[in-house]
């Protein structure tokens, strides 16, 4: 099961990486005499309302999602690890501060942070940069979950007999941290990473559905999914009739699914 998931993920990533060869223009070329066409040999997934190749857009969207979501997850886990370890090693006010900060991060309107940051980068900047910022922000805001888990992990590890013995013998705290604590926490961190990556994939899709994600004319799975909205109200028959619109959904399902399978079962985000 896990092997199959890993292979699938690898294939998806390869397809995404090959986007530069298959669709060098990132799916932005408009074929204005071929608008809203169903799949054909020239356009395997048809064209969108501006006559852009949906397949090319799907691939360039995949590149964005599959590269940036794991990067954001990595950032969140690293940040969470630092904060979680710091809070786990000390009890008292720092731990309280951490838990309060966690609650706040979960409750606050991060929507504004996205808008504010987007306003801070000049509009003249190349689209990929603003994209990078959006995902970096997702990563920065995602630290709360991993921090909590890491904090709990640190508490558990510190209470383990061999660590207690080490500390009793007066080993340097830094040595305990790097030689024993970090190796013990490594699987936990890896699990958190695998659990968070699909969450960020989904977050981009949700942002896209709300119209806050990657903006036109760039393609992402989120804004490709948004096209489903107008078909959706027409009912299931209309949706099945234009089945090729569901391709980004398939991509999303396959990649998040494989990541969930790879993640240890006990770790839930």
């Amino acid at each position: 099961m896990k092997v199959a998931a890993a292979v699938l993920l690898l294939l998806l990533s390869l397809a995404a990486l090959s986007a530069s060869w298959i669709a060098p223009d990132g799916g932005q070329m408009q074929f204005r005499d071929h608008i809203n066409e169903p799949p054909s040999s020239q356009f395997p997934l048809g064209t969108d309302p501006l006559g852009r190749d949906r397949f090319a857009r799907l691939l360039s969207g995949a590149r964005i999602s599959l590269l940036l979501a794991p990067a954001a997850a990595l950032l969140a886990v690293l940040l969470g690890a630092v904060i979680g370890i710091a809070a786990g090693l000390r009890s008292g006010w720092l731990a309280h501060l951490l838990s309060a900060a966690c609650d706040l991060t979960l409750a606050l309107p991060w929507f504004f942070l996205l808008l504010t940051l987007r306003a801070l980068i000049p509009i003249d900047v190349a689209p990929p940069v603003s994209l990078l910022v959006t995902f970096a922000l997702l990563g920065l805001l995602g630290w709360a979950g991993p921090a909590r888990v890491v904090q709990a992990g640190v508490h558990l590890t510190l209470r383990a007999p061999h660590i207690l013995a080490l500390r009793a013998r007066g080993a340097a705290p830094l040595r305990v941290l790097t030689r024993h604590l970090l190796p013990e926490l490594a699987p936990l961190l890896a699990g958190q990473f695998l659990a968070l990556a699909p969450v960020f994939l989904l977050a981009e899709a949700n942002l896209g559905l709300l119209g806050l994600g990657v903006s036109e004319p760039m393609a992402s799975w989120g804004n490709l999914l948004k096209e489903l909205e107008s078909v959706a109200v027409a009912g299931p028959a209309a949706l099945l009739h234009s089945w090729w619109l569901l391709a980004p959904l398939a991509g999303l399902l396959l990649s998040t699914g494989s990541l969930f399978i790879l993640a240890p079962r006990e770790v839930t985000p």
Binding site: Q28, M29, Q30, R32, I35, P49, L50, G51, L115, A119, I123, D124, A126, P127, G211, S215, E216, P217, E229, S230, A232, V233, A234
Partner: protein, 530 residues
């Protein structure tokens, strides 16, 4: 042409009425009305609500675009244009049964002109007329202005008459508000004291009630219309119109070009925090003309609007029959000619890149409001059109408040793509766009003195048309304004989208018009057939 035939067929096929009384008209608005106060109404839902619940002295007939008596049974303007006298209709009543008096008129006028109320119509009248004096005498009311006012009666279509007792929710319109469930719906009930009667002498309106559902999602609105839950939809987008048509429904009607326009402009404000090189390009007339020539307007109309739009020649839509300058033609895309214009200014084009006389590659960004599908698509198409003459365009959709901040306060943008809703036919309504000193002179607002000779000429022409009483003089002056704007391209007009509506076959008496409220302007005479 086909839409005209469709409209005619619709009008002819509608059987002659034995109008039915009663029933509730059901429709949706895209946002909750911001205010029930008709004098501060500025958003479309509030204006619709004001139209349905309040009376005015004079109504512009939305179909003929001519003024008609409403609460005033007649009026007379003085030859110098400095005063107007109204005779109030004896049958005019508020929804609580109290008669509409000349004192109510003066009260309403004073209220709307009060700067603290911040009424858009009041602000506009104050600017055009200067001080306003109102003298009530029984059924007659005389209103005098400091400055002459051309077609003064038209201004009164925007001034709802409220009772002098200060009850702003009581109106003299065909309906009054019965229930307002915030965020969900508003129910309006028939005003039993409404003055108007039909040819047979029966009291209007025919309908008992109107229900406005707040429905933000337009796809859901369309679906409810298809199910028959809603009786009408306004401002259909091209996709929805085609969908209704594809189902063979005669209920979708296209009225041809609307009064609205879509345009882009370059930031020419000296206060703009953008590089001087860009400011230099944007202030060069040939540069703007070249960009205008590079854009394939016919593609925008065909692809983005599925053909339900007309390439724009100038600021005024052909739908504004009285004022459009018919000698202007929409430019046909011609990249070669565009490049020739640019070369004359010292720009060079090689290897697909346009460079300015200093060798800098020409790149700029365009902002538009995120979430507006048509505009995002137009921006993407303009990007490809400009790439053909070597210009790299970056598209930056922004959410609406951010965009407004940039174009009205910080001026931190290169170019902007936005639409203008045509609500007023008369050029006086757009004074604040054309005068160089005005705040809505988007490309370079609030100028102390006109920055260019052609802006100075526009200022003079606009003043001329505002003060002249002779319609021919006004028309000549405004035709020239349109010609200057088309030539200098401070606004690059792209398209006028078609006005498309959906009407349930059950709803009778509808006479779709381009002016808002397109389907409800004759609401007293609408009725539902079982």
């Amino acid at each position: 042409m086909s839409h005209l035939v469709g409209l005619l067929a619709f009008l002819l096929l509608a059987p002659p009425p034995p109008p039915q009384r009663g029933g509730q008209l059901h429709l949706a608005v895209q946002a909750e009305p911001r205010s029930a106060d008709p004098h501060v109404a500025a958003d479309e839902p509030s204006e619709l609500l004001a139209y349905l619940t309040h009376g005015v002295l004079v109504r512009i007939n939305r179909l003929t675009q001519l003024p008609e008596p409403e609460l005033a049974q007649s009026w007379k303007t003085s030859p110098d244009g400095k005063s107007i006298a109204f005779i109030i209709r004896p049958a005019a009543r508020f929804s609580d049964g109290a008669p509409v008096t000349s004192a109510d008129v003066c009260y309403s006028l004073a209220r709307i002109l009060e700067p603290k109320l911040d009424s858009p119509n009041g602000d506009s009248l104050r600017g055009a007329a200067g001080a306003v004096r109102c003298a009530p005498e029984k059924a007659r009311v005389t209103i005098a202005f400091d400055k002459p006012l051309a077609s003064a009666e038209r201004w009164f279509d925007g001034i709802a008459i409220l009772p002098a007792s200060g009850k702003e929710k009581t109106g003299a319109g065909p309906f009054h508000i019965k229930e307002w469930q915030p965020g969900a719906f508003i129910t309006l009930q028939r005003n039993p004291h409404y003055w108007q009667r039909d040819a047979a002498g029966a009291a209007l309106p025919y309908l008992d009630a109107v229900r406005l559902d707040v429905q933000r999602n337009r796809d859901l609105e369309l679906m409810r219309f298809e199910k028959g839950e809603l009786h009408l939809v306004n401002n259909l987008d091209p996709d929805s119109y085609n969908r209704l048509r594809a189902k063979g429904a005669s209920s979708a009607i296209s009225l041809g070009a609307s009064l609205d326009s879509e345009q882009m402009w370059f930031n020419q404000s000296p206060a703009a925090p953008i590089p001087d090189s860009k400011k230099g390009w944007f202030r060069t007339t040939s540069f703007r003309q070249a960009v205008s020539l590079a854009i394939r307007r016919e593609d925008l109309a065909r692809v983005v609007y599925h053909g339900h739009a007309t390439p724009a020649a100038g600021p005024i839509s052909p739908a504004n029959r009285l004022w459009v300058n018919t000698s202007l033609k929409a430019p046909t895309a011609n990249p070669q000619q565009a490049l020739a214009l640019l070369r004359r200014e010292g720009f060079t084009f090689s290897a697909g890149v346009l460079k300015d006389p200093h060798g800098r590659p020409v790149e700029f960004s365009i902002i538009t409001n995120a979430g507006n599908k048509s505009r995002e698509r137009m921006a993407a198409m303009i990007q490809q059109d400009l790439a053909a003459i070597g210009i790299q365009l970056r598209v930056a959709p922004l959410d609406f408040p951010s965009l407004i901040e940039r174009i009205t306060k910080t001026f931190d943008y290169d170019s902007c793509l936005l639409g203008l809703v045509g609500s007023d036919l008369d050029p006086n309504g757009a004074m604040n766009v054309w005068l160089s000193s005005a705040a809505n002179h988007q490309w370079n607002p609030n100028q102390k003195s006109p920055a260019t000779p052609w802006e100075a000429e526009i200022d003079k022409l606009m003043q001329t048309q505002a003060l002249a009483m002779d319609p021919a003089i006004r028309k000549r002056a405004f035709d020239r304004v349109q010609a200057i704007v088309a030539e200098q391209a401070p606004f690059i007009y792209l398209i006028h989208r078609n006005s498309m509506v959906g009407v349930s076959p059950r709803l009778r008496g509808v006479q779709p018009a381009l002016l808002r409220p397109q389907l409800l302007w004759n609401v007293p005479r609408l009725y539902l057939q079982n």
